[in-house]
Symmetry: C2
Subunit: 213 residues, 2 copies
Amino acid sequence: MKTLRVPEATVTRLSIYSRYLERLDRNGVSSVSSGEIADGVGVSPAQVRKDLAYFGEFGTRGVGYNVKDLMRYTLKILGLDRHWNLILVGAGNLGYALCTYRGFNMRGFSIVGVFDNDLTKIGKRINDLEVLPMESMPEIVKDHNVRIGIIATPTRAAQEVADYMIKCGMQAILNFAPLPLNLPEHVEVRNVDLSVKLEILTFNLGFKSAQNV
Amino acid sequence: MKTLRVPEATVTRLSIYSRYLERLDRNGVSSVSSGEIADGVGVSPAQVRKDLAYFGEFGTRGVGYNVKDLMRYTLKILGLDRHWNLILVGAGNLGYALCTYRGFNMRGFSIVGVFDNDLTKIGKRINDLEVLPMESMPEIVKDHNVRIGIIATPTRAAQEVADYMIKCGMQAILNFAPLPLNLPEHVEVRNVDLSVKLEILTFNLGFKSAQNV
DNA sequence: TAGCTAATGTTATTTACTTCACATAATATA
DNA sequence: TATATTATGTGAAGTAAATAACATTAGCTA
């Protein structure tokens, strides 16, 4: 098996292919071509094949791909052939929304601990979880073998929370605070910035208007 | 002024520089170099200068950039030198979180209409807004001159909602449903997929584990 | 005012990513 | 069984983006 560096764009698309394949499978589709996948998710057929080629050969020439098989392969590649327990810090509205977000469960993620340092929030329930004080993090992490943490705090708290998460053993962090975190190399971080995409839209709208003038 | 095509990655970074500059400005910093911006947001100094070069010359050789000026320029480039009214469909937990999200207001965005087709949700209040039925959309859009819509519905409703938004005149859509939308060319769409980034993390954790074995 | 230092703006280089094009292989058909 | 058709997998070509390198210019110092 090849060990080329895999572009992050490829991993992103793989995640999208994977979900598209789940949908096909639910709809009873058993076979699919790179062209159909491409149409379904809005990329080129060559792109689909190239992306898959980083990880092996999954199709049959002249035929296409078996939906169930390819779905399982993509899930496995993404590390989703297993269950992942997560912790989340920040029991505000965003934290609440993330805890109740179905999309995570559907992909094998479970939030097993919600933390906050606000005394008015500690003890409240979200689904079947109680919001806990930060000091409880090490215990939860140990009990549930947690490696990934989600930050849904106000911006000002994010860096401190990230540092504490790492002290508690987190190996990866998903950060919703609009602030670049400063973390050691061995920790994987990805940011979800809710307003950046919105600003790409305003940029493009502005650009269009300018061209019409 | 050059009219090269601007890479989307550049626009994304511009949004991040812009917020970083706002922070510097709030902290009373008046001058900054490309190297300092680079350190602050985690890119290379050359990248910062290259990104800015798409839009003009904003610095002084040997000196650096005036923070307030560059902040204003970046905001203007992104189309954020004005106010943007938004509508949102889907008054669930995610919709609620987005309506109350400070990050939008801080960048000049206001959600002026929240819609749902669920009768149990219509009439409820979010901040100072009442959740309205879908039929009210055209009126709100007209009254507030809205061009951008946010989709925070369950996946199954997203495509239909997007179509209706466009009928109501939306020119751009920010889609939180994990589904590629099928829309006419002239409509700008960006997806915020909450679990894709999480799956990049699990991919990377899996990859690391594999390499250690 | 001449020389030094610092940091921009920009060209050249390198690297990364995407698309193209086609050889290969599987199935269907006559 | 030969032929036509379809769609994969992949090397080559093309495009785009990031990095490096440097010429330029502002400000400082003696």
